[in-house]
């Protein structure tokens, strides 16, 4: 099983996300994560999908996605030539007694504390998936009350591989 990050540039129309996720579900492809957001040109949406499968399946995924009428461009984001970022919001149970411990772990990861209550903290962390997983690992001694992860967004490094919109 290989993991692949695919970036799509699609028409910003209603139903486009359902067409894409529908394609994945009916053909039995995996979605590890999917994120979508409008681009600098409001006519388009950029979607980052993390998918997995053997090489043949991954190639089929690219072709089948490219075939959708609303899809303008499909790009694979190889790890060595791309940057990925994910945002995680983590609500940790922490009373005055163990609050400082959590904060110091957050500091090491350059995470922000964005909410404090008398028995919990919300931490905001941005990074690639490994960094977030490592952070969650370090929090094992504490009780995570709630966790929200966005899934990754990604871009290719450099300007060689840019699809210019006119």
């Amino acid at each position: 099983m290989n993991i692949r990050v695919i970036q799509l540039l699609v028409d910003n129309t209603s139903g486009v996300l359902s067409r894409i996720s529908g394609l994945f579900s009916r053909r039995g492809y995996n979605i590890e994560s999917i994120t979508a957001g409008v681009t600098a040109d409001p006519r388009y949406t950029r979607i980052t999908i993390v998918t997995s499968g053997d090489e043949d399946i991954l190639n089929q995924i690219e072709k089948q996605v490219a075939k959708l009428i609303d899809v303008r461009d499909v790009k694979v984001l190889p790890p060595s030539e791309s940057v990925y970022r994910e945002l995680a919001l983590i609500k940790v149970k922490a009373t005055a007694k163990d609050r400082q411990g959590v904060i110091s772990i957050a500091d090491i990861f350059r995470a922000n504390i964005i909410d404090v209550s008398k028995d919990s903290l919300i931490i905001e962390l941005t990074g690639d998936q490994d960094k977030i997983n490592a952070f969650l690992g370090l929090l094992e001694g504490y009780e995570i009350l709630e966790l929200a992860r966005t899934g990754i967004a990604g871009l290719c490094r450099g300007s060689d591989n840019v699809t210019y919109l006119n």
Partner: protein, 539 residues
């Protein structure tokens, strides 16, 4: 101008001659507006058949078939027809009425989320929320349906959108879609590679799929095969891409095909697969056809290339263009020995079917029918044993062979034949079905009468769902489950009920006279052909 009038106007701009459908409140503005246009309407008896009729018409005219039905059950009934067209890449524009847009999502009377429900069976779909979008949407819908890999496009239009006023109607001259640009012309480097590989080949074979017919590549395929002496086999959907009796044609491949066609494909050293999906029924083991050979896969849909087998040389583009490009190259290959060998194999592997003298032999019936049909006649096969026999024994000369290949939808033949006949009224059109498939769509006999169409329907009658019975014979050792039909309907009475003529064939000796009568009949007729219930396609 009302939205509904714009919709009709768009159809006339696209040169649509027929709309097949069934009205209901949600599509009534459209059916009201169509009265003022030259477009002819066909009232079907169930919506699924509207799509099949549109499909039959599209396949013989090379145009786009159009159907229009109402919301809710009208739309959901259409789905099987849409899926059938999608599986065989037939270009359709399917218009569905929808409930008032203000009520969308509130589960009102006859509301169905048809764009959602049909999502996986359409090439694209629209839910039109602003009447001003109608000209653009219709222009795009026809463009998407008939270009690239063809297919059905669904346009769902709420009744209030059909009834709202458009200030300015202008039908776009060009399609301007940022995201949809199919490839038509083959990559020159890949074409050159193909020519190089062909020059080295001693045992080349072309396998023609439905894509050859869809791209109108019949002529260029034949010219290319003849120029270099390359034998051609076909998939079920590719039947008719070469005349059956052409010396270079070696029949249909697949588990229901000719053994020598499969052997030709497997033994070749170079295989040009064109406009074919390489699906399980045509190619049982895709790895065999790529073993020890150069495999060239030509398809207008890049996703088909490498889906079921890995080609050596992929070429994305329109088959007719690509054969045209290939014809520009002059080179010599000597295939005489290879052709001799294939002809020998064909002789060796030809087996006599076991027949029962108390019944009609389908092979003989179809053979004589093909002989007597006009050269450009249209033969529409249904699904089941009748389909496999039709594929095996019908001789295509210069006409069409239509069937539901990808989806295998029973009941396809009668409505598709009706659509084909309306599309090309001067052609002889014969629907061949079984007693199972006949009963799935014989309500359209009334439609045929209403349209004053001379339709010939051959029913192979064996009181069984023969194809499934055959499967249960081999797989479950004759443990038959839910495959037995009773003796109903009485075909003679049924023909009478629709004012059609009735003919019956019980013995091989009666075939000749009966077919003569059928073909010369100025009225529509049903021919009941009594076949052995225990007959097998693998017999």
């Amino acid at each position: 101008m009302l939205g509904a009038e714009a919709l009709v106007k768009a159809l006339t701009e696209e040169g649509v001659e027929y709309v097949f459908g069934y009205p209901g409140v949600a599509i009534c503005p459209f059916y009201n507006a169509i009265l003022e246009s030259p477009i002819k309407t066909v009232l079907v008896r169930t919506e699924q058949n509207a799509a099949h009729m549109a499909s039959g018409l599209a396949r013989v005219t090379g145009g786009v078939g159009v159907c229009a039905v109402t919301s809710g059950p009208g739309a959901t009934n259409l789905i099987t027809g849409i899926a059938t067209a999608f599986a065989d890449s037939i270009p359709l524009v399917c218009i569905t009425g929808q409930v008032n847009s203000a009520l969308l999502g509130s589960d009102v009377f006859q509301e169905a989320d048809i764009t959602g429900a049909a999502e996986s069976f359409v090439k694209y779909s629209y839910l039109v929320k602003d009447a001003a979008d109608i000209p653009r949407v219709m222009k795009e819908a026809f463009h998407i349906a008939r270009t690239g890999r063809k297919g059905p496009v669904l346009v769902d239009i709420p009744i209030d959108v059909q009834n709202s006023e458009i200030k300015k109607y202008k039908y776009p001259e060009e399609v301007n879609m940022r995201t949809y640009k199919p490839t038509f012309v083959g990559n020159f480097a890949q074409i050159k590679k193909t020519v190089k590989a062909l020059e080295k080949s001693k045992k080349p074979v072309i396998c023609a799929g439905g894509g050859v017919l869809l791209s109108g590549a019949k002529g260029s395929l034949r010219a290319f095969a003849e120029k270099h002496g390359i034998p051609v086999v076909s998939t079920m959907m590719g039947i008719g891409s070469m005349p059956t009796m052409h010396p270079l044609y070696f029949g249909m491949v697949g588990n229901n095909g000719k053994p020598w066609a499969n052997k030709a494909m497997n033994d070749s050293d170079l295989l040009i697969m064109v406009g074919a999906r390489v699906a399980d029924r045509a190619v049982n083991q895709p790895d065999i056809i790529t073993e020890n050979k150069v495999m060239i896969h030509i398809d207008v849909d890049p996703a088909e290339i490498g889906k079921n087998c890995g080609p050596t040389i992929p070429i994305v583009g329109d088959a007719d263009n690509i054969f045209g490009q290939l014809l520009d190259f002059d080179f010599d290959i000597d295939t005489a020995d290879w052709l001799d060998k294939l002809r020998e194999v064909k002789k060796d592997l030809t087996v006599q079917r076991k027949t029962n003298p108390n019944f009609v032999d389908p092979e003989k019936f179809i053979g004589i029918l093909s002989d007597k049909m006009e050269d450009n006649g249209i033969y529409v096969a249904d699904v089941g044993q009748n389909q496999i026999w039709s594929c095996a024994y019908h001789v295509v000369k210069d006409g069409f062979f239509l069937t539901s290949g990808g989806m295998g939808t029973m009941g396809y033949s009668i409505p598709a034949a009706l659509g084909a006949k309306l599309g090309l009224p001067d052609r002889q059109v014969i629907a061949v079905c079984g007693d199972g498939s006949f009963q799935m769509s014989f309500m359209e006999l009334a439609t045929a009468k209403q349209q004053n169409v001379n339709l010939k329907i051959v029913v192979f009658k064996n009181n069984y769902l023969g194809m499934v019975r055959e499967y249960q014979h081999f797989t479950y050792k004759d443990n038959y489950s839910v495959v037995e039909l009773n003796d109903y309907p009485n075909y003679e009475l049924l023909a009478g009920a629709y004012s059609m003529d009735y003919l019956k064939v019980s013995r091989d000796s009666e075939i000749d006279g009966c077919i003569e009568k059928m073909l010369n009949d100025s009225n529509s007729c049903i021919v009941e052909v009594m076949i052995d219930p225990m007959d097998l396609v693998k017999g």
